[in-house]
Amino acid sequence: MNDNTLIEGKNGQWEVVIGLEVHAQVSSQAKLFSGASAAFGASANAHVSMVDAAMPGMLPVINRYCVEQAVRTGLGLNAEINLVSIFDRKNYFYADLPQGYQISQYKQPIVGEGSISITLPDGTSRDIGIERLHLEQDAGKSLHDQHPSKSYIDLNRSGVALMEIVSRPDMRSADEAAAYVSKLRAILRFLGTCDGNMEQGSLRADCNVSVRRPGAELGTRTETKNLNSIRFIAQAINSEVARQVQILENGGTIEQETRLFDTSTGQTRTMRSKEDAHDYRYFPDPDLLPLNLEAAWVEDLRKNLPELPDALRARLMEQYGLSAYDASLISEDRNTAAYYEKAAAGQDAKLVANWMVVELFGALNKMGITLEESPVKAEELGQLVARISDGTISGRIAKDVFALMLESGKDADAIIEEQGFQQVSDSGAIEEMIDKVLTENADKVAEYQGGKDKLFGFFVGQVMKASQGQANPAVVNDLLKKKLQK
């Protein structure tokens, strides 16, 4: 365990233990057990079938595509696929749960144990265990703010296919939890099994958080439900950790409970409708038969998986010689990687990576736009780097060119031409500038020749300045050395 995740308390350190249950919506057209649309954003109850509204006698029939995506996701999480799994009913009453039960998988989920490797900001990696992945139905939506004494129910989400991905309690900080969700989202997006859109609720996390003295037994945990951004996940965990530590340090005890995160205060709070002890009375859904998968079918899916973030990252390091950090940033998203590979084709790949991670990402961040919206396209970034490599411009000038590219959307060659940014490599012209600088600084020349080597840099700087940065530094170096030796 890395010690830097421990929390300093009033009288000693605390260790934070976090496990996440992520609900990821399968990117299907229709719902898990009905033919109604699973699309986001329809008017109330427009995407509802008789099955979703739990009309008497209406029965579930499973969507093959959803099963396939659950298996592909399991394979992408390096998890075991269970060839026989069972759908169970989880029984409880709630206004947005029309059947009075959620069809889920309890004892025999479709996917068993797997793992996710996360990379932390300091470049280190850690494996987070996956306990299971199961398929289940989403519930509808209750709106509590439409009427003073009523709640309004919209069943559009009722029956939408979810993959619930349950981690082991392997995370030790909000940063690790955030890295885990980012990585999981990247894997889901690479696979195309979930769009990962957290604002629309396609990906939500329930955070199980507890604290303990390092090495002690697990503490009592709380579960904060339905967090729909990575920032909220981190905030909720940090506020929950602070709350628990404070309670424990004041001699209190933590109550095992479900909590809500209030985005306006950044704090978690207890659910006012304290549900009485849950007794979900799970049992196999008699409307459905056991789900049997063919081993050959699973193997076929495995063979046809796309390249996933870890493999991509390894390949970027291997093929382009990138650092672990650059590679992990570029492999976070398939479009980012595609952009990079296009830009790097035939170029100095490490230099392209550096330009992308530092200059491009920095600029896009500042502009608040995505890579897809970038005014600098992949080939254009490649061209800019090519001009550095072939000596047309210096790295310094390249930054000015890049700024103009962002501003105007024009390519590097056009800007270099327009602005006359070409580097001066003509030794005659440079000699003239050198002579002028040496004449103007005759005293320094004497000092240099008297043994003050450090002044060499000063002469280079003066020449570059005189050339307005356009002199080729290699040529300047070369000529300066020769002249000063005299």
Binding site: Q29, A30, S37, N45, Y65, H144, Q146, S149, Y152, N292
Partner: protein, 95 residues
């Protein structure tokens, strides 16, 4: 297994069925009687018997991923005891 009134109240709440005091008393006796009767199954040693989850032994049929239903909120809401706009309406739920 003989169950007490408290247990009757607990399961009635789990099942969301209002049961008044007198009915609880009556149900306590009736349910205890039924439970005692079904417990004759304990005469059988079933420690090596797999529970039966499906009587047919068939595999689960699957359908293709296509939108073939929904799109008609009026029909879905047609029988609702209380509705507003296109929503079902229930007493306010406090989270």
């Amino acid at each position: 297994m003989s169950i007490d009134k408290q247990t009757v109240a607990r399961i009635a709440h789990l099942a969301r069925i209002a049961v008044d005091d007198g009915a609880q008393e009556r149900l306590k006796a009736e349910l205890s009687g039924i439970l005692a009767w079904v417990e004759q199954l304990n005469e059988l040693d079933t420690s090596h018997v797999a529970p039966l989850t499906s009587v047919t032994g068939h595999a689960l049929p699957m359908r293709e991923d296509a939108v073939s239903d929904g799109g008609d909120a009026d029909t879905i809401l047609a029988n609702a005891p209380e509705k507003a706009a296109d929503f079902f309406v229930v007493p306010k739920v406090i989270e």
